[in-house]
């Protein structure tokens, strides 16, 4: 869905390098595209919002079980991924600036680094999923979370059913986030191709800008996911 917002605009751009027929001036076209992306991100907030809502309710209901389940995830991997994504946001900003100031090499370089960082993120994510799979923490028939103490209550064990809800939400939320990353990678591959062909100029670089908006949004979702899923019961 998300890339169609941008792609749709672009195919037309190919045929009419200057301006689409139904716009009066380039500024109007640019404003429309960026407003469109902001609204799309608004729909994305609501899309993830349903999941955050479910998370918050069950976290309150099953406070200790969620803490115990959260502790079983590798926070170091999560923290590394957070750092990776923050760096990628920086390279995205660089890409936008490079497009605005006609620095083609920097633009291409920034796009490539952004994509590499995205791939690193997905790789680490895959490692995390693999660990969970081996620990039988993937919800379903072979799920097991027996005899895991609730943090702060060494005499109580977490209820496996409730921990399973945590892991259900963990996989759905991070999975949906990863899907957005993959779509973002596709989008950036396309931006890279256009940048390679030298299609972006200081007058026309809207796709880089709104592609960047999308990437930042996906980063920000992670910034909320990371503490909620990894950090809720960590103590120094």
């Amino acid at each position: 869905m998300s890339d169609s917002t941008v792609v749709g605009l672009h195919h037309e751009e190919q045929h009419h390098p200057e301006l689409l027929h139904h716009f009066a001036e380039p500024q109007q076209q640019r404003d429309a595209a960026s407003l469109g992306m902001w609204i799309f991100l608004g729909t994305e907030v609501m899309f993830f919002g349903g999941l955050f809502c479910a998370y918050l309710i069950y976290r309150r209901w099953y406070f200790g079980d969620f803490g115990a389940a959260s502790k079983s995830i590798d926070a170091t991997l999560g923290a590394t991924n957070t750092a990776v994504l923050i760096c990628s946001s920086l390279t995205v900003v660089l890409a936008v600036w490079a497009a605005q100031t006609a620095r083609r090499t920097l633009l291409i370089g920034s796009l490539v680094i952004t994509m590499l960082l995205g791939l690193v993120f997905l790789g680490i994510k895959g490692k995390e999923y693999k660990d969970k799979f081996e620990e039988h923490h993937v919800p379903g028939a072979s799920f097991s979370f027996d005899h895991v103490p609730i943090p702060g209550h060494a005499d109580q064990y977490a209820n496996p059913r409730h921990a399973e809800i945590f892991f259900s939400l963990y996989f759905i939320m991070t999975g949906l986030h990863a899907l957005h990353m993959i779509i973002g990678l596709g989008l950036f591959a396309w931006l890279l191709f256009m940048a390679w062909k030298g299609r972006f100029t200081p007058e026309y670089h809207t796709p880089v800008e709104i592609g960047g908006l999308y990437w930042h949004f996906v980063d920000i979702v992670w910034i909320y996911l990371f503490p909620l899923l990894y950090l809720i019961d960590r103590h120094p």
Partner: protein, 549 residues
């Protein structure tokens, strides 16, 4: 504006219909007007499918015993009726057809901001529609259109996932339409077309789009959760596994209550245009009507739990939601009062669109007032899940939304097709629809109040008379819906060519040719007047020629 075109009427002026021919020129079009017609054809198709299910339901309920179908089939019939009508007819109806056609024209734009995304939204609708058809043909769903868990995730063995995905895909079509409208209204208005000069149709569509943008993603993620839970046996909504079925209801109604306003707000916009034109007056209290649309959109998001009063929510939450539900009545009443005030001392013409608008006001008022019965905690306990609820929401969705849709189709048909429809036949059809509708649904209020529950294929003997009345009404209603389809089709070939402004109506869409050219206007219009300037239009010295401003 384009007044030069009115004087001579050559046989075939170039317009959006005859510019190109062939299937490809339609399937790959990015013209908002052609996409509107694509939508018109597809939603009409689904309307008749949904109507077919309704017919079977009413036939089954003719007698107290289950003779036409048995319980399982009956469950599927009302489920498919609801899903098709809600997701594939009512939600796209006015926005995707009339909105698509008119939003750019009314604000003086050449097209929507994202023409290709507009086409994409139609394809998504079609893909969702095909999935839904496939689902229906291979077994269907029996949960009711509400998909309540855990029945939908852990018990029924019907095609929940496929139906859910169909709605998911169609939902994105709705999101993209809303997104396109908001950007278009913000960024594409012609010079001089300020926010306070916008036709109220545009305000209504703006409010609708906000709901589509903010509400639809929530139902989308809810469907994802249901599908995942059902296929992987997770426990997010299953109480046996620690999940909460009420959470599903909250998420579901967070969209599905505002969805009612997706259906009714555009209809209110249509009715506003019609009333101003056929009363020959500026709408009374323009800004109140405009902001009441926004208020309905905002309040509409805060009342969802009134569907759950008997589902076990806390009594304090129920109190708050009851109060907020009453609050929605305020902007709705503002509209009704302002339409009435517009009619006051107006020079009223009883053409077919106006008959539909009158029908709308009456039926919407009844639907809205009975909604207050349901918002009242005590009465709601008595009538929840009875035919009272069925009658109430059909008064809103069919009596309101559908009447507005038909009125709008008649009003703008000369612009859309370039032809006039047969007026006296259309008035007759409007009358048949109104009578048939009331005969179908008014008895259901009484049935519900007497205690006939919804969603059963049998009922006690004493309810038969009212059920027979209702079924008879449905037949009349069916005739009322077939008629317009037939004479619209007839008029496309045999109707008299329409002048550019057959109603002498205000608004930019009437200042271009009928049917319009691909880019709507010959040159970009510049707006220097308020909306609904009927006193200027009707000033005696300007009777003959189009107004020179």
């Amino acid at each position: 504006m384009s007044m030069a075109t009115v004087t001579v009427q050559p046989v075939e002026r170039e317009n959006y219909l005859n510019k190109e021919y062939g299937v490809g020129s339609w399937l790959f079009t990015t013209d908002h007007k052609r996409i509107a017609l694509l939508y018109l054809m597809s939603i009409t198709f689904f309307f008749f499918i949904g109507g077919f299910f309704a017919l079977l339901i009413r036939l089954e309920l003719l007698t107290p015993v289950g003779d036409l179908v048995q319980a399982d089939t009956y469950n599927k019939l009302f489920t498919m009726h609801g899903m098709v009508m809600v997701f594939f007819f009512l939600i796209p109806s006015i926005p995707a057809v009339l909105g698509n056609f008119l939003v750019p024209m009314m604000i003086g734009a050449k097209d929507l901001a994202f023409p290709r995304i507009n086409l994409l939204s139609w394809y998504l609708y079609i893909i969702g529609g095909i999935m839904m058809l496939h689902c229906m043909l291979t077994g269907g769903v029996d949960t009711g259109w509400t998909f309540y868990t855990p029945f939908s995730t852990a018990f029924t063995n019907t095609k929940i996932v496929e139906a859910g995905l169909a709605i998911f895909v169609a939902g994105f079509s709705s999101i993209l339409t809303g997104l396109n409208f908001v950007v278009t209204i913000h960024r594409m208005r012609a010079p001089g077309m300020t926010w306070s000069r916008l036709p109220l149709f545009i305000w209504a569509h703006y409010a609708t789009s906000i709901i589509q943008i903010l509400g639809t993603p929530v139902i989308a993620i809810t469907i994802v959760l249901v599908a995942v839970e059902r296929t992987l046996h997770l426990g997010i909504f299953d109480p046996r596994l620690g999940g909460d079925p009420l959470l599903f209801q909250h998420l579901f109604w967070f969209y599905s209550h505002p969805a009612v306003y997706i259906m009714i707000l555009p209809s209110m916009g249509v009715v506003t245009e019609i009333i101003a034109c056929f009363a020959r007056k500026r709408i009374f209290g323009y800004s109140f009507v405009a902001f009441s649309s926004i208020a309905i959109a905002v309040f509409g998001f805060l009342v969802w739990a009134h569907h759950m009063f008997v589902a076990g929510i806390s009594v304090y939450a129920a109190l708050v939601f009851s109060l907020l539900s009453y609050a929605v009545a305020v902007p709705s009443a503002v509209k009704v009062f302002n339409w009435t005030a517009t009619l006051y001392k107006g020079s009223i013409h009883y053409d077919a669109p106006m008959l539909y608008a009158f029908g709308f006001i009456g039926l919407f008022t009844m639907g809205g007032l009975t909604g207050l019965f349901l918002a009242a905690l005590g009465i709601d306990v008595h009538v929840t899940d009875t035919y009272f609820v069925i009658a109430h929401f059909h008064y809103i969705m069919v009596g309101g939304a559908l009447m507005g849709y038909l009125g709008g189709l008649h009003f703008w048909w000369p612009k859309i097709s370039g032809r006039l429809y047969p007026e006296s036949l259309a008035r007759l059809a409007a009358l048949i629809v109104f009578l048939g509708f009331n005969l179908t649904f008014f008895p259901q209020f009484i049935l519900g109040y007497l205690g006939m529950p919804r969603r059963y294929f049998q009922y006690p003997q004493e309810f038969q008379v009212l059920n027979v009345l209702s079924t008879a009404g449905a037949t009349v209603l069916g005739v009322g819906y077939l008629l317009p389809m037939l004479y619209f089709l007839w008029s496309m070939r045999y109707g008299k060519p329409a002048p550019d402004n057959p109603w002498n109506a205000a608004g930019l869409e009437w200042m271009t040719s009928s049917p319009p050219t691909t880019f709507n206007f010959e040159k970009e219009p510049v707006v220097t007047w308020e909306a609904y300037n009927y006193d200027e239009l009707d000033a005696p010295h300007k009777e003959e020629v189009p107004v020179v401003r």
